[in-house]
């Protein structure tokens, strides 16, 4: 099908974009990479009346590191993150996650901030950003606020972004030296949305886990932190038993909804395997193995 008619706004500066969004209020919808929004419009599952295209906002096309934070602007494409040497050094977990989003032709257009704003429960980037304790910077004509990602995403395809606001940037704390990371997912076909995926970040101290972050996608209405697994990993050295225990703790109490990929128990099982694999790889990377 074809999209329903809409009015098209294409600001060339951030201030102009915020003024347009302010004026449009509830009616305004941001168009970033369009890789989630336009398919919905083609099916007429979304019929926005006003689109504000942010692709001309060159000032938001950046991925840069300063003061222990990797900042990713709203126009930065997923493929730019994948290629960014700076990001590879500062947040390798995020780079590993983005490489598993769709295929290159989609990543050439899709943006990092767009994926966060879209808040698909199966999406890789929100889960990786959750494990990394990222912050979302929301700008509007009235000013700016910084929202921890776990407060920003509030449900399936739902965020706490207010009408008139734009996700201007996501901010990712730089991963410390000596940390190990991994993003592991399973999908029936390469490039498809994952049945489930796990993002893991481990900070070791003398061979033992000092701090662990574990986040999952595809197992609930939004990405979730696995607090149980994080606790169980504290002090761990990476033995088989410790890995198994952490993976089991990660999925305890989860009841993923069934879909055409499989039932709830299947998805939980897949999630458990992903967590185990990710922890294992994170350990070997933290030790300098890979």
């Amino acid at each position: 099908m074809k999209p329903a008619p809409f009015a098209y706004h294409v600001p060339s500066a951030l201030t102009e974009a915020l003024a347009v969004l302010d004026e449009l209020g509830e009616e305004g919808r941001v168009l970033a990479g369009g890789q989630s929004l336009v398919p919905l419009m083609n099916f007429r599952l979304a019929q926005p009346t006003h689109l504000v295209d942010i692709n001309r906002l060159d000032e938001l096309d950046y991925i840069r590191r300063d003061d222990g934070v990797l900042a990713i602007g709203a126009r930065a494409r997923q493929s730019a993150l994948e290629r960014s040497q700076e990001a590879r050094g500062a947040a390798p977990l995020l780079v590993e996650a983005v490489a598993q989003v769709a295929h290159p032709p989609v990543r050439h257009r899709g943006t990092v901030c767009g994926s966060v704003a879209h808040a698909d429960p199966a999406a890789e980037l929100p889960a990786a950003l959750l494990a990394l304790d990222a912050e979302v910077v929301a700008s509007s004509r009235q000013g700016e606020r910084r929202i921890p990602i776990h407060e920003f995403i509030s449900g399936p395809f739902t965020t706490t972004l207010a009408p008139g606001e734009l996700v201007r940037e996501v901010r990712v704390p730089v991963s410390g030296a000596g940390s190990g990371y991994a993003f592991a997912e399973f999908s029936p076909r390469h490039g498809d949305f994952a049945v489930s995926g796990a993002a893991v970040l481990l900070q070791l101290e003398a061979g033992r886990v000092e701090r662990a972050s574990v986040a999952l996608c595809g197992v609930a209405g939004m990405p979730v932190r696995a607090a149980g697994a994080e606790q169980s990993l504290r002090g761990a050295r990476g033995s088989e038993e410790e890995l198994e225990a952490a993976a089991a703790a990660a999925v305890e109490g989860l009841t993923p909804s069934a879909d055409l990929h499989g039932g709830s128990a299947y998805r939980r099982r897949i999630a458990r395997v992903c967590v185990r694999r990710a922890i294992n790889l994170a350990f070997s990377r933290a030790r300098g193995g890979a």
Partner: protein, 203 residues
Amino acid sequence: MVDRHRIELVVNGETETQEVEPRRLLVDFLREDLGLLGAHIGCEHGVCGTCTVLMNGETIRSCITFAVQADGQEITTVEGLASNGKFHPVQEAFWEKQGLQCGYCTPAMMLRTVEILRENPSPTRDQVREGIASQLCRCTGYQYIIDAVLEAARTMSAGAETDGKVLVKQGAGPSSAEAAAQTQGSGPALEEEAEDASRQKES
């Protein structure tokens, strides 16, 4: 009243100026307004890849990009691959290795191949397999397509050794009417490709 926007873009080296409705998909603009039927429509939601074209040298899905978003950009479709009556080496290779059956996926498959080989001029079979995973083919079972991509890699790097500008000679048409008057070279996107290819060869 229908809201229309004036856009100016370069398609296969020609500057095109048109008025379009914002909801016009790029693939419909190419097919219906410009008569370039090489970009095919399959799923219309970004999954199958048959509508893939190059925007500023990068593959994109033209079914989930609006024509208004191509304003000021440079688009290459399969019609822009051959030049001066000569096939692009990728086209030659698909012909030679019979990398198609019905041909529905083929224009997009070849444009993706141009990109894959620009990024990695001598891929392994597995790398090609992964690279073309963004494009669905309903007929071939992919084996012959992979053969064709590897054949193109062979002929293009053989060409690059004797002549670093093989893509420029056989690549897309010039990027604008002006450039056409000056040279017979390819558009910037493909010219860059040739440079990238020779750079990567050197390193």
